[in-house]
Symmetry: C2
Subunit: 264 residues, 2 copies
Protein backbone atom coordinates (compact mmCIF):
# COMPACT_ATOMS: atom_id res chain seq x y z
CA UNK A 1 0.00 0.00 0.00
CA UNK A 2 1.36 3.43 -0.80
CA UNK A 3 2.21 5.96 1.88
CA UNK A 4 -0.74 8.30 1.33
CA UNK A 5 -3.30 5.47 1.40
CA UNK A 6 -1.72 4.01 4.49
CA UNK A 7 -1.73 7.42 6.20
CA UNK A 8 -5.32 8.17 5.21
CA UNK A 9 -6.49 4.77 6.44
CA UNK A 10 -4.66 5.12 9.76
CA UNK A 11 -6.10 8.62 10.31
CA UNK A 12 -9.60 7.25 9.67
CA UNK A 13 -9.25 4.04 11.67
CA UNK A 14 -7.69 5.65 14.75
CA UNK A 15 -9.53 8.98 14.39
CA UNK A 16 -6.21 10.66 14.90
CA UNK A 17 -3.83 13.14 13.31
CA UNK A 18 -1.26 12.42 16.01
CA UNK A 19 2.20 11.19 15.10
CA UNK A 20 4.49 10.05 17.87
CA UNK A 21 8.14 10.92 17.35
CA UNK A 22 10.21 7.92 18.44
CA UNK A 23 13.29 9.77 19.69
CA UNK A 24 14.76 7.58 22.41
CA UNK A 25 17.08 9.45 24.74
CA UNK A 26 18.85 7.15 27.21
CA UNK A 27 19.22 10.04 29.66
CA UNK A 28 15.46 10.49 29.85
CA UNK A 29 14.44 6.83 29.54
CA UNK A 30 13.94 4.67 32.65
CA UNK A 31 17.03 2.77 33.77
CA UNK A 32 17.66 -0.72 32.43
CA UNK A 33 15.20 -0.37 29.54
CA UNK A 34 16.83 -0.82 26.13
CA UNK A 35 15.99 1.45 23.22
CA UNK A 36 13.99 -1.26 21.49
CA UNK A 37 12.14 -2.21 24.66
CA UNK A 38 11.34 1.46 25.24
CA UNK A 39 10.01 1.93 21.71
CA UNK A 40 8.06 -1.33 21.86
CA UNK A 41 6.34 -0.24 25.06
CA UNK A 42 5.52 3.18 23.56
CA UNK A 43 4.15 1.55 20.40
CA UNK A 44 2.07 -0.98 22.38
CA UNK A 45 0.66 1.88 24.44
CA UNK A 46 -0.19 4.21 21.56
CA UNK A 47 -0.76 2.21 18.35
CA UNK A 48 -4.54 2.75 18.45
CA UNK A 49 -4.14 6.50 19.00
CA UNK A 50 -1.81 7.55 16.19
CA UNK A 51 -1.77 8.00 12.41
CA UNK A 52 2.00 7.54 12.10
CA UNK A 53 5.30 7.09 13.93
CA UNK A 54 8.33 9.23 13.20
CA UNK A 55 11.75 8.01 14.35
CA UNK A 56 14.44 10.70 14.06
CA UNK A 57 17.62 9.03 12.82
CA UNK A 58 19.92 11.22 14.92
CA UNK A 59 18.84 9.50 18.14
CA UNK A 60 19.75 6.09 16.73
CA UNK A 61 22.95 7.11 14.96
CA UNK A 62 24.20 8.62 18.22
CA UNK A 63 24.07 5.11 19.73
CA UNK A 64 26.16 3.50 16.98
CA UNK A 65 25.46 0.00 15.64
CA UNK A 66 23.20 -0.88 18.54
CA UNK A 67 21.09 2.18 17.89
CA UNK A 68 20.63 1.32 14.23
CA UNK A 69 19.78 -2.27 15.13
CA UNK A 70 17.15 -0.96 17.55
CA UNK A 71 15.80 1.31 14.82
CA UNK A 72 15.37 -1.61 12.42
CA UNK A 73 13.66 -3.73 15.05
CA UNK A 74 11.40 -0.78 15.85
CA UNK A 75 10.35 -0.27 12.23
CA UNK A 76 9.67 -4.02 11.96
CA UNK A 77 7.62 -3.95 15.14
CA UNK A 78 5.32 -1.08 14.14
CA UNK A 79 1.99 -2.53 12.94
CA UNK A 80 1.96 -2.79 9.15
CA UNK A 81 -1.06 -0.50 8.81
CA UNK A 82 0.64 2.47 10.50
CA UNK A 83 3.04 4.43 8.29
CA UNK A 84 6.56 5.14 9.48
CA UNK A 85 8.19 8.46 8.59
CA UNK A 86 11.99 8.47 8.76
CA UNK A 87 13.02 11.92 10.00
CA UNK A 88 16.34 12.05 8.18
CA UNK A 89 16.56 15.59 6.72
CA UNK A 90 19.00 14.27 4.10
CA UNK A 91 19.85 15.92 0.80
CA UNK A 92 22.81 15.41 -1.57
CA UNK A 93 23.68 15.54 -5.28
CA UNK A 94 21.85 13.13 -7.58
CA UNK A 95 24.12 10.06 -7.58
CA UNK A 96 24.63 10.36 -3.82
CA UNK A 97 20.97 11.10 -3.13
CA UNK A 98 20.16 7.76 -4.77
CA UNK A 99 22.23 6.08 -2.06
CA UNK A 100 20.30 7.84 0.69
CA UNK A 101 17.04 6.74 -0.96
CA UNK A 102 18.33 3.15 -0.91
CA UNK A 103 19.34 3.44 2.76
CA UNK A 104 16.06 5.00 3.88
CA UNK A 105 13.51 3.17 1.75
CA UNK A 106 15.13 -0.24 1.12
CA UNK A 107 17.37 -0.86 4.11
CA UNK A 108 15.44 1.00 6.84
CA UNK A 109 12.05 0.44 5.15
CA UNK A 110 10.47 3.82 5.87
CA UNK A 111 7.19 4.69 4.16
CA UNK A 112 8.18 8.34 3.93
CA UNK A 113 11.14 10.57 4.76
CA UNK A 114 11.97 14.18 5.53
CA UNK A 115 14.37 15.87 3.09
CA UNK A 116 16.22 19.20 3.15
CA UNK A 117 15.55 21.36 0.07
CA UNK A 118 18.76 23.42 0.16
CA UNK A 119 20.53 21.56 -2.67
CA UNK A 120 17.57 21.84 -5.04
CA UNK A 121 15.68 19.67 -7.45
CA UNK A 122 18.24 17.00 -8.36
CA UNK A 123 18.86 16.36 -4.66
CA UNK A 124 15.16 15.74 -4.02
CA UNK A 125 14.33 13.72 -7.14
CA UNK A 126 15.84 10.39 -6.03
CA UNK A 127 13.20 10.34 -3.29
CA UNK A 128 10.30 11.46 -5.49
CA UNK A 129 10.76 8.72 -8.04
CA UNK A 130 10.16 5.89 -5.56
CA UNK A 131 6.66 4.52 -6.22
CA UNK A 132 4.42 4.60 -3.16
CA UNK A 133 6.91 6.38 -0.93
CA UNK A 134 6.32 9.80 0.64
CA UNK A 135 8.55 12.87 0.88
CA UNK A 136 8.24 15.81 3.28
CA UNK A 137 10.48 18.72 2.30
CA UNK A 138 11.60 21.03 5.08
CA UNK A 139 9.78 24.34 4.59
CA UNK A 140 9.55 26.31 7.87
CA UNK A 141 10.96 24.31 10.77
CA UNK A 142 9.88 24.69 14.39
CA UNK A 143 13.20 25.93 15.81
CA UNK A 144 14.45 29.51 16.45
CA UNK A 145 17.05 29.14 13.66
CA UNK A 146 14.23 28.90 11.11
CA UNK A 147 14.38 32.72 11.02
CA UNK A 148 17.97 32.78 9.74
CA UNK A 149 17.46 31.54 6.19
CA UNK A 150 13.96 30.07 5.79
CA UNK A 151 12.35 33.49 6.32
CA UNK A 152 14.63 35.65 4.17
CA UNK A 153 12.65 37.53 1.52
CA UNK A 154 12.93 36.25 -2.02
CA UNK A 155 11.08 38.29 -4.64
CA UNK A 156 8.59 39.51 -2.05
CA UNK A 157 7.94 36.25 -0.27
CA UNK A 158 9.81 34.27 2.38
CA UNK A 159 12.17 31.55 1.17
CA UNK A 160 10.09 28.75 2.68
CA UNK A 161 7.13 29.80 0.52
CA UNK A 162 9.42 29.81 -2.50
CA UNK A 163 10.48 26.26 -1.56
CA UNK A 164 6.81 25.21 -1.48
CA UNK A 165 5.91 26.97 -4.73
CA UNK A 166 8.91 25.81 -6.77
CA UNK A 167 8.96 22.22 -5.53
CA UNK A 168 5.24 22.00 -6.31
CA UNK A 169 6.22 22.21 -10.00
CA UNK A 170 8.58 19.20 -9.72
CA UNK A 171 6.04 16.51 -8.87
CA UNK A 172 2.63 16.09 -7.33
CA UNK A 173 2.22 14.79 -3.82
CA UNK A 174 5.25 16.41 -2.17
CA UNK A 175 4.59 17.08 1.50
CA UNK A 176 6.09 19.84 3.66
CA UNK A 177 7.38 20.23 7.19
CA UNK A 178 5.98 23.34 8.88
CA UNK A 179 6.34 23.88 12.63
CA UNK A 180 3.21 24.35 14.75
CA UNK A 181 5.21 27.09 16.43
CA UNK A 182 4.32 29.28 13.41
CA UNK A 183 0.48 29.14 13.15
CA UNK A 184 0.10 32.06 10.72
CA UNK A 185 2.71 30.71 8.35
CA UNK A 186 1.17 27.24 8.55
CA UNK A 187 -2.04 28.73 7.21
CA UNK A 188 -0.12 30.40 4.37
CA UNK A 189 1.59 27.15 3.39
CA UNK A 190 -1.75 25.34 3.43
CA UNK A 191 -3.15 28.04 1.10
CA UNK A 192 -0.18 27.63 -1.27
CA UNK A 193 -0.36 23.83 -1.24
CA UNK A 194 -3.99 22.82 -0.62
CA UNK A 195 -3.44 19.16 -1.48
CA UNK A 196 -0.06 18.61 0.15
CA UNK A 197 0.35 16.45 3.22
CA UNK A 198 1.88 18.53 6.01
CA UNK A 199 4.14 17.20 8.73
CA UNK A 200 3.70 19.54 11.69
CA UNK A 201 6.16 19.17 14.56
CA UNK A 202 6.43 21.34 17.63
CA UNK A 203 3.06 20.87 19.37
CA UNK A 204 4.40 19.20 22.53
CA UNK A 205 7.46 20.39 24.43
CA UNK A 206 8.05 23.14 21.90
CA UNK A 207 4.69 24.73 22.73
CA UNK A 208 3.18 24.95 19.23
CA UNK A 209 -0.46 25.74 18.50
CA UNK A 210 -2.46 22.51 18.39
CA UNK A 211 -5.65 24.07 17.07
CA UNK A 212 -3.86 25.82 14.20
CA UNK A 213 -2.13 22.54 13.36
CA UNK A 214 -5.44 20.72 13.07
CA UNK A 215 -7.02 23.53 11.05
CA UNK A 216 -4.10 23.43 8.62
CA UNK A 217 -4.34 19.69 8.36
CA UNK A 218 -8.00 19.29 7.54
CA UNK A 219 -8.80 20.38 4.00
CA UNK A 220 -11.51 19.87 1.44
CA UNK A 221 -9.15 17.34 -0.13
CA UNK A 222 -8.80 15.16 2.95
CA UNK A 223 -7.12 15.05 6.32
CA UNK A 224 -3.66 15.84 5.12
CA UNK A 225 -1.74 16.38 8.32
CA UNK A 226 0.61 14.51 10.55
CA UNK A 227 0.91 16.39 13.84
CA UNK A 228 3.98 15.27 15.71
CA UNK A 229 4.83 15.25 19.40
CA UNK A 230 7.91 13.46 20.72
CA UNK A 231 9.27 14.39 24.14
CA UNK A 232 5.94 15.40 25.72
CA UNK A 233 4.64 11.87 25.09
CA UNK A 234 7.77 9.71 25.42
CA UNK A 235 8.88 11.32 28.66
CA UNK A 236 5.50 12.13 30.23
CA UNK A 237 6.87 10.05 33.10
CA UNK A 238 10.47 9.08 33.77
CA UNK A 239 9.45 6.08 35.90
CA UNK A 240 8.51 2.50 35.15
CA UNK A 241 5.00 3.72 34.26
CA UNK A 242 6.37 5.63 31.24
CA UNK A 243 4.24 3.72 28.74
CA UNK A 244 1.01 4.28 30.66
CA UNK A 245 1.84 7.98 31.03
CA UNK A 246 2.70 8.17 27.32
CA UNK A 247 -0.71 6.72 26.51
CA UNK A 248 -2.46 9.22 28.79
CA UNK A 249 -0.68 12.14 27.12
CA UNK A 250 -1.23 10.76 23.60
CA UNK A 251 -4.91 10.25 24.37
CA UNK A 252 -5.19 13.78 25.76
CA UNK A 253 -3.68 15.20 22.57
CA UNK A 254 -5.76 13.00 20.29
CA UNK A 255 -8.95 14.05 22.14
CA UNK A 256 -7.99 17.72 21.99
CA UNK A 257 -7.38 17.45 18.25
CA UNK A 258 -10.62 15.59 17.65
CA UNK A 259 -12.54 18.30 19.52
CA UNK A 260 -11.05 20.90 17.16
CA UNK A 261 -11.87 18.72 14.15
CA UNK A 262 -15.47 18.18 15.31
CA UNK A 263 -16.00 21.93 15.64
CA UNK A 264 -14.71 22.77 12.14
CA UNK B 1 45.53 17.74 17.28
CA UNK B 2 42.74 19.98 16.06
CA UNK B 3 41.33 19.74 12.57
CA UNK B 4 42.88 22.90 11.15
CA UNK B 5 46.37 22.04 12.41
CA UNK B 6 46.06 18.53 11.09
CA UNK B 7 44.87 19.81 7.70
CA UNK B 8 47.60 22.46 7.49
CA UNK B 9 50.28 19.92 8.37
CA UNK B 10 49.00 17.39 5.82
CA UNK B 11 48.89 20.04 3.09
CA UNK B 12 52.48 20.99 3.88
CA UNK B 13 53.84 17.48 4.27
CA UNK B 14 52.24 16.04 1.12
CA UNK B 15 52.40 19.31 -0.87
CA UNK B 16 48.80 18.74 -1.78
CA UNK B 17 45.37 20.36 -1.64
CA UNK B 18 43.81 17.16 -2.93
CA UNK B 19 41.11 15.40 -0.95
CA UNK B 20 39.98 11.99 -2.11
CA UNK B 21 36.27 11.32 -1.66
CA UNK B 22 35.88 7.75 -0.42
CA UNK B 23 32.53 6.94 -2.03
CA UNK B 24 32.57 3.20 -2.65
CA UNK B 25 30.05 2.08 -5.25
CA UNK B 26 29.85 -1.72 -5.55
CA UNK B 27 28.65 -1.38 -9.14
CA UNK B 28 31.84 0.42 -10.14
CA UNK B 29 34.27 -1.44 -7.87
CA UNK B 30 36.10 -4.53 -9.09
CA UNK B 31 34.34 -7.83 -8.38
CA UNK B 32 35.05 -9.65 -5.13
CA UNK B 33 36.64 -6.65 -3.45
CA UNK B 34 34.88 -5.62 -0.25
CA UNK B 35 34.22 -1.97 0.56
CA UNK B 36 36.89 -1.91 3.24
CA UNK B 37 39.44 -3.67 1.03
CA UNK B 38 38.67 -1.17 -1.73
CA UNK B 39 39.11 1.82 0.57
CA UNK B 40 42.26 0.35 2.09
CA UNK B 41 43.82 -0.09 -1.34
CA UNK B 42 42.86 3.48 -2.33
CA UNK B 43 44.31 4.84 0.93
CA UNK B 44 47.52 2.83 0.55
CA UNK B 45 47.88 4.15 -3.00
CA UNK B 46 47.19 7.82 -2.25
CA UNK B 47 48.06 8.61 1.38
CA UNK B 48 51.23 10.54 0.41
CA UNK B 49 49.35 12.57 -2.20
CA UNK B 50 46.39 13.98 -0.25
CA UNK B 51 45.60 16.52 2.46
CA UNK B 52 42.39 14.79 3.56
CA UNK B 53 39.93 11.98 2.88
CA UNK B 54 36.19 12.58 2.65
CA UNK B 55 33.85 9.58 2.98
CA UNK B 56 30.25 10.45 2.02
CA UNK B 57 27.95 8.70 4.47
CA UNK B 58 25.27 7.95 1.86
CA UNK B 59 27.48 5.32 0.20
CA UNK B 60 27.91 3.45 3.47
CA UNK B 61 24.34 3.83 4.75
CA UNK B 62 23.07 2.37 1.47
CA UNK B 63 24.92 -0.85 2.35
CA UNK B 64 23.33 -1.19 5.79
CA UNK B 65 25.24 -2.47 8.82
CA UNK B 66 28.08 -3.84 6.72
CA UNK B 67 28.54 -0.47 5.09
CA UNK B 68 28.77 1.33 8.42
CA UNK B 69 31.18 -1.29 9.72
CA UNK B 70 33.35 -0.72 6.62
CA UNK B 71 33.18 3.05 7.22
CA UNK B 72 34.43 2.67 10.80
CA UNK B 73 37.25 0.39 9.73
CA UNK B 74 38.13 2.88 6.99
CA UNK B 75 38.31 5.84 9.39
CA UNK B 76 40.47 3.73 11.74
CA UNK B 77 42.75 2.77 8.87
CA UNK B 78 43.42 6.30 7.59
CA UNK B 79 46.84 7.44 8.91
CA UNK B 80 46.40 9.55 12.04
CA UNK B 81 48.07 12.59 10.47
CA UNK B 82 45.53 12.87 7.63
CA UNK B 83 42.22 14.51 8.57
CA UNK B 84 38.95 12.78 7.74
CA UNK B 85 35.95 14.86 6.72
CA UNK B 86 32.59 13.15 7.15
CA UNK B 87 30.40 14.30 4.27
CA UNK B 88 27.10 14.06 6.12
CA UNK B 89 25.16 17.24 5.20
CA UNK B 90 23.16 16.87 8.42
CA UNK B 91 21.18 19.59 10.17
CA UNK B 92 18.42 19.38 12.77
CA UNK B 93 17.02 21.32 15.76
CA UNK B 94 19.32 21.84 18.73
CA UNK B 95 18.62 18.79 20.91
CA UNK B 96 18.60 16.53 17.84
CA UNK B 97 21.63 18.19 16.29
CA UNK B 98 23.55 17.25 19.46
CA UNK B 99 22.85 13.61 18.64
CA UNK B 100 24.23 13.98 15.15
CA UNK B 101 27.35 15.61 16.60
CA UNK B 102 27.74 12.60 18.90
CA UNK B 103 27.27 10.18 16.00
CA UNK B 104 29.69 11.97 13.69
CA UNK B 105 32.43 13.08 16.07
CA UNK B 106 32.35 10.45 18.84
CA UNK B 107 31.07 7.29 17.18
CA UNK B 108 32.40 7.76 13.64
CA UNK B 109 35.41 9.83 14.80
CA UNK B 110 35.49 12.36 11.96
CA UNK B 111 37.78 15.37 12.29
CA UNK B 112 35.30 17.58 10.45
CA UNK B 113 31.83 17.32 8.90
CA UNK B 114 29.66 18.96 6.27
CA UNK B 115 26.44 20.54 7.56
CA UNK B 116 23.38 21.97 5.80
CA UNK B 117 22.59 25.55 6.83
CA UNK B 118 18.85 25.53 6.02
CA UNK B 119 17.64 25.19 9.63
CA UNK B 120 19.79 28.06 10.88
CA UNK B 121 22.06 28.84 13.77
CA UNK B 122 20.78 26.48 16.49
CA UNK B 123 21.05 23.57 14.05
CA UNK B 124 24.71 24.36 13.35
CA UNK B 125 25.84 25.20 16.88
CA UNK B 126 26.08 21.63 18.22
CA UNK B 127 28.87 21.10 15.69
CA UNK B 128 30.63 24.41 16.32
CA UNK B 129 31.00 23.85 20.04
CA UNK B 130 33.15 20.74 19.70
CA UNK B 131 36.74 21.69 20.48
CA UNK B 132 39.17 20.87 17.70
CA UNK B 133 36.52 19.69 15.24
CA UNK B 134 35.83 21.32 11.88
CA UNK B 135 32.56 22.30 10.19
CA UNK B 136 31.96 23.01 6.50
CA UNK B 137 28.58 24.62 5.87
CA UNK B 138 27.02 24.04 2.48
CA UNK B 139 27.14 27.34 0.60
CA UNK B 140 27.00 26.82 -3.19
CA UNK B 141 27.04 23.13 -4.05
CA UNK B 142 28.39 21.69 -7.29
CA UNK B 143 25.12 20.26 -8.65
CA UNK B 144 22.58 21.78 -11.09
CA UNK B 145 19.98 22.09 -8.29
CA UNK B 146 22.22 24.64 -6.56
CA UNK B 147 20.44 27.23 -8.74
CA UNK B 148 17.02 26.50 -7.23
CA UNK B 149 17.45 28.00 -3.76
CA UNK B 150 21.14 28.73 -3.13
CA UNK B 151 21.17 31.42 -5.81
CA UNK B 152 17.91 33.21 -5.05
CA UNK B 153 18.47 36.91 -4.38
CA UNK B 154 18.24 38.03 -0.80
CA UNK B 155 18.61 41.77 -0.23
CA UNK B 156 20.69 42.13 -3.37
CA UNK B 157 22.95 39.12 -2.94
CA UNK B 158 22.54 35.39 -3.57
CA UNK B 159 21.41 33.27 -0.63
CA UNK B 160 24.70 31.34 -0.47
CA UNK B 161 26.55 34.62 0.16
CA UNK B 162 24.05 35.45 2.88
CA UNK B 163 24.77 32.03 4.42
CA UNK B 164 28.49 32.83 4.42
CA UNK B 165 28.04 36.35 5.81
CA UNK B 166 25.56 35.51 8.56
CA UNK B 167 27.23 32.31 9.71
CA UNK B 168 30.52 34.21 9.90
CA UNK B 169 29.00 36.12 12.83
CA UNK B 170 28.24 32.92 14.77
CA UNK B 171 31.76 31.67 15.32
CA UNK B 172 35.22 31.93 13.84
CA UNK B 173 36.67 29.12 11.81
CA UNK B 174 33.54 27.95 9.98
CA UNK B 175 34.38 26.48 6.59
CA UNK B 176 32.21 26.44 3.47
CA UNK B 177 31.43 24.04 0.66
CA UNK B 178 31.60 25.74 -2.75
CA UNK B 179 31.61 23.71 -5.95
CA UNK B 180 34.51 24.08 -8.37
CA UNK B 181 31.81 24.08 -11.04
CA UNK B 182 31.22 27.76 -10.11
CA UNK B 183 34.66 29.47 -10.39
CA UNK B 184 33.40 33.06 -10.30
CA UNK B 185 31.27 32.44 -7.21
CA UNK B 186 34.15 30.63 -5.54
CA UNK B 187 36.17 33.82 -5.88
CA UNK B 188 33.32 35.84 -4.32
CA UNK B 189 33.06 33.46 -1.36
CA UNK B 190 36.81 33.67 -0.82
CA UNK B 191 36.54 37.47 -0.81
CA UNK B 192 33.72 37.34 1.75
CA UNK B 193 35.50 34.82 3.97
CA UNK B 194 39.26 35.33 3.53
CA UNK B 195 40.20 33.12 6.48
CA UNK B 196 37.69 30.33 6.04
CA UNK B 197 38.71 26.85 4.98
CA UNK B 198 36.87 25.94 1.76
CA UNK B 199 35.85 22.45 0.76
CA UNK B 200 35.69 22.46 -3.02
CA UNK B 201 34.09 19.44 -4.69
CA UNK B 202 33.37 18.95 -8.35
CA UNK B 203 36.84 19.02 -9.97
CA UNK B 204 36.84 15.45 -11.25
CA UNK B 205 33.89 13.78 -12.99
CA UNK B 206 31.80 16.94 -12.55
CA UNK B 207 34.25 18.95 -14.66
CA UNK B 208 34.96 21.82 -12.27
CA UNK B 209 37.76 24.34 -12.71
CA UNK B 210 40.91 23.07 -11.00
CA UNK B 211 42.88 26.29 -11.40
CA UNK B 212 40.10 28.43 -9.90
CA UNK B 213 39.83 25.96 -7.02
CA UNK B 214 43.52 26.32 -6.21
CA UNK B 215 43.42 30.12 -6.53
CA UNK B 216 40.49 30.25 -4.10
CA UNK B 217 42.26 27.98 -1.70
CA UNK B 218 45.56 29.74 -1.39
CA UNK B 219 45.29 32.95 0.62
CA UNK B 220 47.53 35.29 2.54
CA UNK B 221 46.29 33.49 5.65
CA UNK B 222 47.37 30.03 4.56
CA UNK B 223 46.43 27.23 2.22
CA UNK B 224 42.84 27.01 3.23
CA UNK B 225 41.36 24.64 0.68
CA UNK B 226 40.42 21.04 0.39
CA UNK B 227 39.84 20.23 -3.26
CA UNK B 228 37.87 17.03 -3.60
CA UNK B 229 37.67 14.45 -6.37
CA UNK B 230 35.91 11.14 -5.88
CA UNK B 231 34.81 9.14 -8.92
CA UNK B 232 37.58 10.29 -11.26
CA UNK B 233 40.15 8.84 -8.86
CA UNK B 234 38.34 5.84 -7.36
CA UNK B 235 37.16 4.51 -10.70
CA UNK B 236 40.04 5.57 -12.92
CA UNK B 237 40.15 1.86 -13.75
CA UNK B 238 37.46 -0.74 -13.14
CA UNK B 239 39.96 -3.59 -13.18
CA UNK B 240 42.24 -5.19 -10.60
CA UNK B 241 44.69 -2.33 -11.16
CA UNK B 242 42.22 0.19 -9.72
CA UNK B 243 44.54 1.31 -6.92
CA UNK B 244 47.48 1.92 -9.27
CA UNK B 245 45.21 3.85 -11.65
CA UNK B 246 43.81 5.82 -8.71
CA UNK B 247 47.36 6.78 -7.72
CA UNK B 248 48.19 7.86 -11.27
CA UNK B 249 45.10 10.08 -11.43
CA UNK B 250 45.63 11.48 -7.92
CA UNK B 251 49.25 12.25 -8.78
CA UNK B 252 48.20 13.92 -12.03
CA UNK B 253 45.76 16.16 -10.13
CA UNK B 254 48.21 16.91 -7.35
CA UNK B 255 50.87 17.87 -9.90
CA UNK B 256 48.42 20.05 -11.83
CA UNK B 257 47.43 21.84 -8.63
CA UNK B 258 51.04 22.30 -7.53
CA UNK B 259 51.86 23.85 -10.91
CA UNK B 260 49.07 26.38 -10.38
CA UNK B 261 50.29 27.05 -6.84
CA UNK B 262 53.88 27.52 -7.95
CA UNK B 263 52.79 30.10 -10.53
CA UNK B 264 50.74 32.20 -8.08
Amino acid sequence: MNFMEKLTNAIRKNKSLLCVGLDPDPELMPDKVSVFEFNRAIIDATADLVCAYKPNLAFYEALGNEGLEALKRTVDYIPADIPVIGDAKRGDIGNTGERYATALFDDLKFDAVTISPYMGRDSVEPFLTRPGKGVFLLALTSNPGSADFQRVRVAGRPLYEHVVKLSGTWASGIGYVVGATHPGELKRVRALAPRAPLLIPGVGSQGGDLEAAVRAGVTAFGDLAVINASRSILYASSGRDFARSARTEAKRMQDAMERVRAAL
